[in-house]
């Protein structure tokens, strides 16, 4: 690129187009953040207020009213634990399928994915009854397990896909050199597959973080996550828009910030068809 002219019209056009499109797409979210700092009356005014004196009253109320920190802690614990647990189960499974393919591999993968296509609403009663029988209602453990199971098919599939990109020769070579399975795993597979593991993990972390349905239905006072917290701000009788924006902002901020910082790894991790 160094040999290109420093500022060409093409560059200006591209930059402008990119920025306009980006701002248009980001706009609703930006408006949400802005609304978090408004009063209820300001939030619904017509024409919409862009300049106003910001207030922090919503943030105070959210914490006071619903113990944001407890829900945040639950969100962090359940999403991280379910992701790590899931990776621990999915990675070996993906490894087995990627390197020891047989004629059932494709079918097994499709079957796993198809169970994911069942709407959660349909499985509510069986899962609820199971959780109740196990005495696990309103526990973080139950949520962790359910999140992990929900995301397991995706994890297996994405890891399988990224492991397929790792050339067999490298693994064979390591084996030739007398490496044990564990060493093969640690020295060769892990570094090469790290990107795939990381990006799969990040995706599933986000999915677990945003999972509201199970969180609402399987918890009561102790184990709810942030996604469930939002449900308590959508009031049937009363103005709530500013508070909801604030609660939403506080609910998604951690994961968005995390996503922003790790998007570089994500970008590097998702290689499709590239030769490393």
């Amino acid at each position: 690129m160094a040999h290109r002219a420093p500022v060409s019209t093409a560059l200006i056009v591209r930059t402008a187009a990119a920025w306009i499109v980006t701002l248009a797409i980001f706009f609703p979210l930006g408006w949400l953040v802005l609304t978090a700092f408004k009063t209820e009356l300001q939030a619904i005014s017509v024409p919409p207020l862009i300049f106003f004196t910001p207030t922090l009253e919503n943030f105070v109320e959210v914490q006071e009213r619903s113990d944001y920190l407890l829900y945040a802690k639950n969100s962090v614990i359940t999403s991280v634990a379910s992701t790590l647990l899931g990776l621990a189960i999915a990675a070996p499974a993906a490894y087995s399928m990627a390197f020891f393919r047989n004629r059932w591999t494709r079918d097994v993968l499709m079957w796993m994915l198809s169970t994911k296509m069942m709407p959660a609403v349909g499985a509510l009663v069986p899962i609820y009854v199971l959780t109740q029988t196990a005495g696990l209602l309103d526990t973080r453990l139950a949520l962790t397990i359910v999140f992990m199971l929900s995301n397991l098919p995706i994890m297996v599939w994405m890891l399988y896909s990224s492991f397929r990109d790792i050339p067999h020769e490298i693994l064979e070579a390591a084996r030739m050199d007398g490496a044990t399975l564990w060493q093969e795993f640690r020295r060769v597979l892990l570094p090469l597959g790290m990107g795939g593991l990381f990006s799969t993990g990040l995706l599933c972390l986000v999915l677990a973080w945003n999972e509201a349905f199970w969180s609402l239905n399987l918890t009561a006072a102790r184990a709810g996550t942030l996604a469930a917290l939002i449900a308590s701000y959508s009031s049937p009788e009363g103005l709530f828009w500013a508070k909801l924006s604030c609660a939403s902002f506080m609910a998604i901020a951690p994961i968005v910030v995390f996503g922003w910082f790790s998007q570089r790894q994500l970008v590097q991790g998702l290689t499709f068809g590239a030769v490393k």
Binding site: F27, M117, T271
Partner: protein, 315 residues
């Protein structure tokens, strides 16, 4: 010996297993195959079990009478639950809506995602920030996403879109009433576009730049570059995006529940919402389970079609 193994193991995309190794290698081959397989079996088996148990329960519930409001009455009903679910006047519209929803969002996100990825593929000022802003909508919780669009953007009196329409002198559109399914499609597409864009951005990273430069030097126009270089390279990632989105979009629920309530009429009711009506309004777990299994059947049919269309890229 070594070369044979490489040749056997290294063919990508080959159907099924490669030719068996020569008998001389079998002891070595066997040992290094059964051990990992044995170690991995527990993982695969437990995965299987965990998925099978709820599935089996759902199957069982779908065949009996199970209404939460009438506990204790669990008579065997055969296929009566399925029949009830299928004879709902909204059943076929719901299937159509489900397919329309999934199809439209996929088309929008794939074409939009590729376009965006191409747009920001080459450097320009502020590219890092643009990337970060573009992926943000994916992190928004679906319920909040729905409320955001319904109140802020689409409200015909004080919504942003209404203001824009009025600015251009046109009468604002009542999105929820006149274009309910389309409104839901817009909301869901907005949320998934970042995901598709991200996948395509990373796929483009690994494009062969020299090939691209050479083509440009040879005078290839942009459309030709697109057709012969970019798109084929993106084949695999398109397949992945389509696959993952199909899985999630088949069971879109929160957006519909929060905004249109499945209406007006059943214009924005999809299969998931229909199941919800049975499960959590009627508290009829029997019919809901029947509906859930039908949804899985539908999903499998869709998957089979998908595999036919893009299957070669999946492996």
């Amino acid at each position: 010996m070594f070369r044979l193994r490489i040749a056997a193991a290294g063919t990508e995309g080959a159907e099924g297993a490669a030719a068996p190794p020569a008998s001389r290698e079998r002891p070595r081959g066997e040992a290094s195959r059964t051990l990992p397989r044995a170690l991995l079996a527990p993982a695969v088996v437990s995965l299987f079990l965990w998925m099978a148990v709820p599935l089996a329960m759902t199957l069982y519930f779908s065949l009996i009478r199970y209404n939460l409001m009438q506990p204790g009455e669990h008579g065997f009903l055969g296929l009566a639950n399925y029949e009830f679910f299928v004879t709902d006047p909204s059943f076929w519209p719901a299937i159509v809506n489900t397919l329309l929803l999934v199809g439209s969002v996929i088309v929008i996100t794939v074409t939009g995602g590729i376009s965006l990825a191409l747009l920001i593929d080459e450097p320009f000022p502020g590219r890092g920030l643009v990337r970060v802003l573009l992926i943000s909508p994916f992190f928004v919780i679906p319920t909040v996403n729905a409320l955001l669009w319904k109140h802020m953007m689409m409200n015909p009196i004080y919504g942003v879109l209404a203001q824009v329409w009025r600015f251009f002198g046109a009468k604002p559109v009542d999105w929820m009433a006149d274009w309910p399914l389309f409104s839901v499609i817009v909301m869901v597409a907005w949320q998934w576009l970042p995901f598709a864009t991200l996948i395509f951005v990373t796929a483009l990273q690994s494009m062969n730049r020299e090939q691209l430069e050479a083509a440009r030097m040879d005078g290839a126009r942009y459309l030709q570059q697109l057709r012969y270089l970019y798109i084929p390279h993106l084949g695999r990632s398109i397949a992945i995006v389509v696959m993952i989105e199909t899985i999630f979009l088949m069971s879109v629920f929160a957006e519909i529940f929060t905004t249109t309530g499945g209406g007006p009429g059943d214009a924005s009711t999809n299969i998931a919402f229909l199941i919800f009506k049975q499960a959590l309004l009627n508290f009829d777990a029997g019919v809901a389970s029947a509906g859930a299994l039908l949804a899985v059947v539908l999903a499998n049919i869709v998957a089979i079609f998908l595999i036919r269309m893009i299957g070669k890229n999946l492996d």
